[in-house]
Symmetry: C2
């Protein structure tokens, strides 16, 4: 496992690397107000709010809320505590909402930088890509130092930023392993398209596996819960049901399905520790309602 | 800052190092059942439960509960999820409670190992000491590599295990910095005695500072809260009000009081990340009661 959860800023994670890349890009483009977007459990929103606060850059996070989704997550609470402005919007109407936010910020005299690019969320792919090209190089360096070659690299795939960077890194380095993103939400077509955009042009096949989504974003089954419990209890590693735990469970299912050996398989822990504690809170609430096992 | 919170097992922390030392010692002594003891927020209890589970060693944690203390902490919940047996006792009656637990476990055919030693909590000081002797060597190695010498090392001091190890390490290495433990609970006499026991015999003065306790274990003031917010917002580092945040605030107060320069001061982050999330839960609950600022 590559422990990007141990990167030392704001609980680490892939968004720690990617957020730094966006901040560099904003500086290049002359922006002075960061605008992020994500679900209520978004690690990206939390990390951008934290990174911006640490550099005294104003930040606004757009929070997509859907009926039935948890609204009060630790990620959102930490972003709030970092002083990020928050705008809640519907997932079905993001472009309009982004447009309004950008217009309003320009009216307040800022040069806002929307980290996905334009209102349709296109244009900043190259900036995001750079983060996991660097991470791929770290992996390749580790392999070279130890004389090991991974056959597969698995990870949670959502926006496509992480997988796109890894694919581009592999292309540049002439790597041979399979990079397999386990979808945490999107269907195969939409997910593959997104990864392709972030990866940039290339001849390679994109391996975006959408068969282990458990019904959609934030949903999970008892096997995901088993995996979370097992990883904590066997290795002291926190996974969460929305991203890393779901992806790890998906990897296990994939390996079993294809009868693939696991000797040289790498899983990238893309962070999101606050979501593990949301999960523990949920277990408490379930217990309080007479469901589940005792919390303490 | 020395980031022991980033040790990769069960949220890291000093108890990750110390717990490993106790497990080694238990093996040497031929024990086969780990018995730990701590408050409801204890990092030691959580870490021992997690370490034991990962090695399939049965574990029982004794939880000292006082009126008014939070009973349902994340540390306790994680220990429960790791399958540790739990016995609740009063702080005023620990020796008897330990005696009963050990007797009962012997009756069940086990050779229990109480990590503090005998029923009075004496006897395993040498095992605990080893953990932070090793950590001291890491610090000394870091200083040597970079041609830097710290003037002071600060950290949260509770049981005395961490400080005792550091003091012993300094003695062995002939170090010159001041090792200053900020008490999280105990008065100067009791705390100093405990550190002395864990440090073993030596000529050195023990620097156990009990002036920054904010009234006792688990209590904190608005400056501690400011420090927690500041460290998260400036450096993305999670501190908690019971141990690390209180100690960091105590360090700031100490440096100000004595007009000491901070150029070569080291703070050891002794972990306890689950307590940061307990703190966030408390902020939510306060808000729900109409106190404090908005949670999200």
């Amino acid at each position: 496992m590559k422990r990007d959860d141990l990167l030392g800023f704001s609980f680490g994670g892939n968004k720690c690397r990617i957020g730094m890349a966006f901040l560099e890009d904003m500086e290049k483009q002359g922006g002075n107000f960061m605008v992020s977007y994500g679900s209520s459990g978004s690690n990206l929103n939390r990390t951008m709010a934290a990174l911006c606060k640490s550099k005294n850059i104003p930040c606004l996070i757009m929070v997509a809320e859907e009926e039935g989704e948890e609204a009060c997550t630790f990620n959102r609470q930490i972003a709030k505590s970092a002083g990020a402005e928050q705008v809640v919007c519907k997932k079905t109407n993001v472009a309009d909402a982004v447009g309004q936010v950008l217009e309003e910020l320009r009216g307040r005299g800022y040069k806002p930088y929307y980290l996905y690019g334009n209102e349709q969320g296109r244009g900043n792919e190259a900036a995001a890509r750079e983060a996991y090209i660097r991470a791929y190089r770290e992996i390749a360096g580790w392999e070279k130092d130890r004389g090991v070659e991974f056959t597969h690299i698995f990870h949670a795939s959502g926006t496509g930023m992480t997988q796109g960077g890894l694919v581009a890194g592999k292309r540049q380095a002439g790597g041979r392993e399979e990079i397999i993103g386990i979808s945490v939400a999107r269907d195969a077509q939409r997910g593959t398209d997104a990864v392709r955009r972030y990866a940039g042009d290339g001849p390679e096949e994109i391996r975006f596996e959408a068969d282990y989504r458990c019904g959609g974003y934030g949903l999970y089954d008892s096997f995901v819960e088993e995996i979370i419990e097992q990883m904590m209890n066997s290795h002291g590693i926190a996974l969460d049901p929305t991203y890393t735990g779901k992806a790890y469970a998906g990897m296990e299912r994939w390996l079993k399905r294809y009868g693939t050996g696991r000797e040289r398989v790498l899983f990238i822990h893309t962070g999101g520790m606050p979501l593990y504690f949301d999960y523990l809170n949920r277990k408490r609430a379930e217990y309080a309602k007479g469901k589940g096992t005792q919390a303490i």
